[in-house]
Amino acid sequence: MGKYIAKRLLASLAVMAIVSFMAFAALELIPGNAALIAAGTEGSSSSVASIAAELGLDRGFLDRVLLYYKGILSFDFGVSSYFGESVSTLIGQRLGVTFSLAFLSVMLAFFFSVILGSAAVLGRGKFLDAFSRSVVQIFSSIPSFWLSLLFLILFSSVLHIVNVGDYVPPSVSIRGYLSSIILPVAVLAIGETGPLLRLVRTSMIRARNEDWYRIGKVRGISRMRLVMAYALRYALPGPLTLAGSELAKLLGGTAIVESVFALPGLGRLFLTAVEMRDIPLVEGIVIFVSFLVVLMNLVTDLILFVSNPSMRKAGGIRL
């Protein structure tokens, strides 16, 4: 177990190093630079040169890469050129919103998918299966911006159930917090439920067709036990992996929903950063999000590792 974790951590570090280098190099390739932008339209070539020297842009590529990595290692992503604040502070401020949205919506989608998917496949009636294959899939195919607008109109303008527009942190008021994020969470959860539910359903069908499941009943195993100890345990790793990567994906990009609901999240921050050519901020967010993705994958793999005897015995997925 320890060896497996160590191996995975090393591999994650390598991924992080490559991603951060790519972020740096890609921005390097874009024409223009921070000194040009900072000097503004009126700036002379000498003022551009002096700003470049001040920012360290006159140094060689390798020098700057090393400086960049030194900063990353001390969690110093520099200062945002647009906001004038430190990148880490900016990310820290926005993280709560995005994390709430991503985590709650994936959780919701996962539980809903598992319960509905299992009931649809293993239950006696056909109604649930038809429902999970039609209504749910249709809803989750609706683009999130449009669903967001529908929800806004219905719950805010028509029914006046929730207030939209002011994000309330949970530290201020739990009620206000829930009311400010419930609609975007619902929109994201509906989108996530589609693929998750489909995967739960097919995994459950596979479980149902396995000999050990089919004969479980004649061996006198109760239905409850068959579902819990047999089918779910067999069917969950796939959906769990998907939920992990969806969570990582959402952490990096709920920009559309954040924009529609005017929530101060990471996605919107990133959009602004790109628009404003705020290179330190773009780099900071890319690195931070890739770190989250790597972390999520690591956590997912560890859960799979612990829950699956064949992986445990083989010492984990081969890297």
Partner: protein, 259 residues
């Protein structure tokens, strides 16, 4: 009276309308080993599935000690399921891959005797493993870690653990290579001698059936062609099909009447 029997059982698969069985009647007497032989698609496995309650027939009745099993409920149903155990062709497929072999063997006890202690279950698991010639140390492995022969012996152990009245063995050695086949067949013979269990032995291999059974039903196209005494097969065989099977199993030169 027979322990387990079916009368005029038919099976039509709903999704494609395929008629797998047409008015099949099979009887298994107390302590008797009954074989079903036939080519694949002849419906022999379907008979096994229906007679043990795995599948429901579309016509006809299955009797357990003279009682229609479709009406069994509660304790009577549990007792029926305890009394009829299966051994399948793919032993690994028949075991939960997340369980160790010890848990595979403990589970039937746990389900059927809820009050039983963990120690006692482990002791019984080790004991039954020895009975099928496996070292207790193998019980720490998972089904996918052991060989096909070992897994099949665990499956047999699981089947005899609850001291059933009938064991339905469906192609239980077909997936094993010849030397292991012989081992498993000898083990089954020994179990037959040591316990009073009846067997329904389903196989495409007439020589295996003959080695193990008292009586054999020959099946083709979902019907029973004939039922023969295993010791007097050549003499009793009427249908051409059975004669072909005999020829295939024992070679032409041995002919119909002398073996």
């Amino acid at each position: 009276m027979s322990v387990l029997s079916c009368a005029d059982v038919s099976k039509v698969f709903q999704d494609n309308g395929y008629e797998a069985l047409n008015r099949v009647s099979v009887e298994i007497g107390e302590g008797e080993a009954v074989g079903i032989v036939g080519e694949s698609g002849s419906g022999k496995s379907t008979v096994g599935n229906i007679i043990g309650g795995l599948e429901k027939p579309t016509g006809g009745t299955v009797f357990y000690h003279g009682t229609d099993i479709s009406g069994l409920k509660g304790e009577a149903l549990r007792s029926f399921r305890r009394s009829v155990q299966y051994i399948f062709q793919d032993p690994k497929g028949a075991m939960n891959p997340y369980f160790t072999l010890r848990r595979v063997l403990m589970e039937p006890l746990q389900i059927n005797f809820p009050g039983i202690g963990k120690r006692e279950m482990e002791r019984r698991a080790a004991e039954i493993a020895m009975m099928v010639n496996l070292p207790p140390s193998i019980l720490d492995a998972h089904p996918w870690e052991v060989s096909g022969g070992e897994a099949q012996r665990i499956a047999i152990a699981r089947a005899i653990l609850l001291e059933p009245e009938v064991i339905i063995a469906d192609e239980c050695v077909s997936a094993l290579d010849l030397s292991i086949q012989a081992e498993v067949m000898n083990l089954l013979r020994r179990i037959r001698k040591d316990t009073s269990a009846s067997f329904l032995f389903i196989s495409h291999d007439l020589s295996l059936v003959r080695y193990f059974c008292d009586r054999v039903y020959v099946m083709r196209y979902g019907r029973i062609v004939e039922c023969l005494d295993c010791s007097r097969m050549e003499e009793e065989a009427q249908s051409e099909y059975t004669k072909i099977l005999l020829e295939d199993a024992y070679g032409e030169y041995q002919g119909n009447s002398h073996r």
